[in-house]
């Protein structure tokens, strides 16, 4: 029933968008979709029907457990705020002739459909079904990147599609392996996660490692793990900022979610030590590459994009540790990173409209007088930057700190390396902000820059997210802890 509700709402929203005439109508439809989805998932949690395996239709393929609903909750919050933000932002893209009015229907149609596909992906019990939805998210989000119809956008979108889809085919071969493993162990093959979790104890480790390695390739590419991260900075930079927030805050989570699910299966087998090592190595390499790329970075959005790569690496390292506490903080970090990063991209989008720097892709971000021109966005970047580098009072601090503590028990060498890299990344962020934001024009030059009147609808999401992460970083309710504990328990760590 509940799945039908999600699908019907999305279908209605798509119909409104198809029939809608004005930008306002289409945008409101998208806001309504995200709000209703949020309400539905909130209701699901409060009415405590989860985990839910007997859905009225498609119960063979779908289920709703705490991890799924948790990810959906994060996704819908970001989609809601991004849709509110998009109203002003897209209007300005049209005025700046970066987006043609004719593409609006396509843009909002893809937007609304993307949210539905993501929700269905998180509710998929069958891993092959999850694979297909993930693949669809690639195609649809690439459409959102290419929508600006500038040459660089199309290039970035094509690169994104090919790297992600080619890697995802390897995942599919991995899934075939997994299917064959379950078939040879139990007799009837299955790709249903809940069933695989029960059978996993009897899986032969050699085959499991091969299957995991192949599956990992695809989901690693989706979540921007080294060496498959090369599409990520380009797509994030070229996309409209409202879309960048979704790419970073939601779509990277889809990849990590896949890795978490499959790793939970591996955790039941004896192959876990080898696979943990694999995750640790790739995690460290990812953080290393991200930190080194952040250091000389002169463009704000690229810096933020590489910071996403860094955080995905941290998540992998946390998974590698694989203690219940580490998994708890990995899940917390997923949320903390998503909200913080969305806020950063929203702020960067406001600054982009103020300074129009993406039309010359290679130019250095030249920002003057940010505090007098765009105070909210400037503080969004500063506080968001402090938050993402892991300063106290912010949620990323908590998750990074406790993940590091957990890592100390797992591998002290990795801890030292990771800590050094985190300092480098934080330093890169700090250096950029200090250098860029302290530029003040001389007394005579001020007339050149016209202040962009930021609509309240664009400042609001930044403020909401800042408040949200401050609350998340300072107050941890018992309900929240119980919920995450429940997720960890369901993953059987």
């Amino acid at each position: 029933m509940i799945l039908a509700a999600f699908v019907l709402v999305a279908a209605a929203v798509l119909a409104v968008i198809a029939l809608g005439r004005t930008h306002r109508q289409m945008n409101s439809a998208c806001i309504a979709e995200a709000a209703i989805f949020l309400a539905l998932s909130g209701w699901l949690i409060l009415s405590s029907q989860i985990p839910m395996t007997s859905l009225a239709f498609g119960s063979e393929f779908f289920f709703i457990d705490h991890l799924g609903i948790y990810e959906v909750l994060i996704a819908t919050v970001i989609f809601l705020l991004a849709a509110v933000y998009a109203r002003g932002y897209v209007e300005n893209l049209i005025e700046a002739r970066e987006l043609s009015r004719g593409s609006l229907k396509l843009f909002y149609g893809a937007w609304a459909f993307l949210l539905l596909v993501i929700v269905l992906a998180f509710f998929s019990d069958n891993l092959a079904l999850f694979w297909i939805f993930t693949e669809l998210t690639t195609v649809i989000s690439a459409m959102l990147v290419a929508i600006l119809y500038a040459r660089d956008n199309i290039d970035a979108a094509i690169k994104y599609i090919f790297i992600a889809s080619v890697s995802m085919l390897f995942s599919f071969v991995g899934l075939i392996f997994l299917f064959e493993i379950s078939r040879s162990v139990v007799g009837t093959g299955t790709l249903n996660w809940t069933v695989l979790m029960q059978q996993a104890g009897a899986f032969p480790p050699g085959m499991v490692i091969a299957a995991f390695a192949l599956i990992f390739i695809g989901f690693a590419a989706k979540s921007g793990i080294f060496p498959f991260h090369t599409w990520l900075p380009e797509a994030h930079v070229r996309a409209p900022s409202a879309v960048s927030a979704i790419l970073s805050g939601v779509l990277l989570n889809v990849g990590i979610y896949g890795i978490i699910r499959v790793f939970a299966i591996v955790h039941q087998t004896t192959a876990v030590s080898t696979v943990s090592l694999l995750l640790l190595v790739f995690g460290l390499l990812t953080v290393f590459v991200a930190a080194m790329s952040m250091l000389p970075q002169m463009k704000l959005k690229k810096l933020i994009a590489f910071s996403s790569v860094e955080n995905m690496g941290i998540l992998l390292i946390g998974l590698a540790v694989a203690t219940p506490l580490a998994i708890f903080w990995v899940l917390f970090h997923v949320m903390a990173h998503a909200f913080t990063k969305a806020g950063l991209f929203f702020s960067a989008g406001i600054l982009h409209l103020q300074y129009h720097s993406t039309l010359s892709p290679d130019a250095v971000d030249d920002m003057q007088d940010v505090f007098s021109l765009q105070p909210v966005a400037a503080w969004g970047i500063i506080l968001g930057g402090l938050a993402i580098t892991g300063m106290p009072l912010f949620p990323v601090f908590l998750s990074k700190f406790f993940l590091l503590v957990q890592l100390a028990g797992f591998s002290p060498v990795a801890l030292v390396i990771l800590l050094t890299l985190l300092f480098i990344a934080a330093g890169a962020f700090g250096y950029f902000v200090i250098r860029t934001f302290t530029q003040v024009s001389g007394p005579g030059a001020h007339t050149e820059i016209v202040r962009y009147q930021t609509p309240a609808g664009m400042n609001l999401p930044v403020i909401v997210l800042l408040v949200l992460i401050l609350i998340l970083g300072t107050v941890i309710t018992s309900g929240e802890v119980a919920f995450l504990d429940q997720v960890v328990a369901e993953l059987m760590f």
Binding site: I132, E135, L136, D155, V173, R183, S184, H356
Partner: protein, 230 residues
């Protein structure tokens, strides 16, 4: 009934056909024939599914054969060919080329590597049976050869063909290693069709919006002329 030994030798011949088509896709410059060879490769897969069906009698193989025939032998090649014509009118196609000898040698090495790797992984499982094992090796090799095409060619439309031939490899692999539920095979093909449509449309967009894009840049006095051609 047909003699199983005959069917098995037919399948072996079809394996050889698949490898030849893959080698052709890697090494040819001619874009039009690329599409026909892809269609031929898909047709080989259809025949293979039919041959397997006559061996095992699983109806899912018939369904796979039908869907593959409609989508990969008819619809997708037709779509790509018509797009190619549209681009061809505008300008000639130049493409980045990995020398045929190198890429062919590389793919031979790949096949050998996959053979050894799979022999180790599948040791002791029922899938280690000769014909099915061979199918898995050919499937994975086809996949990696397709990947070589995707990453060594510059044109998006050739990349699409590389991706398509990769997907053929996955289908082959799945067909021989295990019996996947039909719904999964079907959904993959839907995904494939969407991906092909989007990327080819983007490629056309890349060509047709070029001038408009440059005009826009000049209007904003932001950059001079940038380099041409992807």
């Amino acid at each position: 009934m047909i003699d199983p030994a005959l069917v098995q030798s037919v399948i072996r011949i079809l394996f050889a056909v698949v490898i030849v088509t893959a080698a052709y896709i890697i090494s040819t410059r001619n874009l039009i024939s690329l599409v026909s060879v892809y269609a031929l490769q898909s047709l080989t897969l259809v025949l293979m599914a039919l041959a397997l069906w006559s061996l095992e009698g699983a109806t899912v193989l018939l369904a796979i054969a039908a869907v593959t025939f409609v989508s990969k032998v008819l619809v997708i090649p037709y779509f790509i060919a018509s797009i190619q014509e549209r681009i061809r009118i505008r300008r000639d196609i130049e493409f980045h080329f990995l020398s045929p000898t190198t890429s062919l040698l590389l793919s031979m090495a790949l096949i050998l590597f996959i053979y050894i790797a799979l022999a180790n992984i599948l040791e002791g499982t029922p899938a280690r049976e000769s014909l099915f094992f061979f199918g898995a090796v050919i499937g994975l090799s086809l996949m990696l050869m397709g990947m070589m095409v995707t990453f060594s060619r510059k044109r998006a439309i050739t990349k699409v063909l590389g991706y398509l031939s990769m997907e053929n490899g996955v289908l082959l692999f799945g067909m021989f290693v295990t019996e996947l539920p039909f719904i999964i095979e079907f959904l993959i093909i839907i995904d494939l069709v969407i991906l092909v449509m989007l990327t080819t449309i983007l490629t056309v967009g890349l060509d047709s919006t070029l001038e408009e894009y440059h005009q826009r840049l000049h209007r904003f006095h932001l950059v001079g002329d940038t380099e041409d051609g992807p």
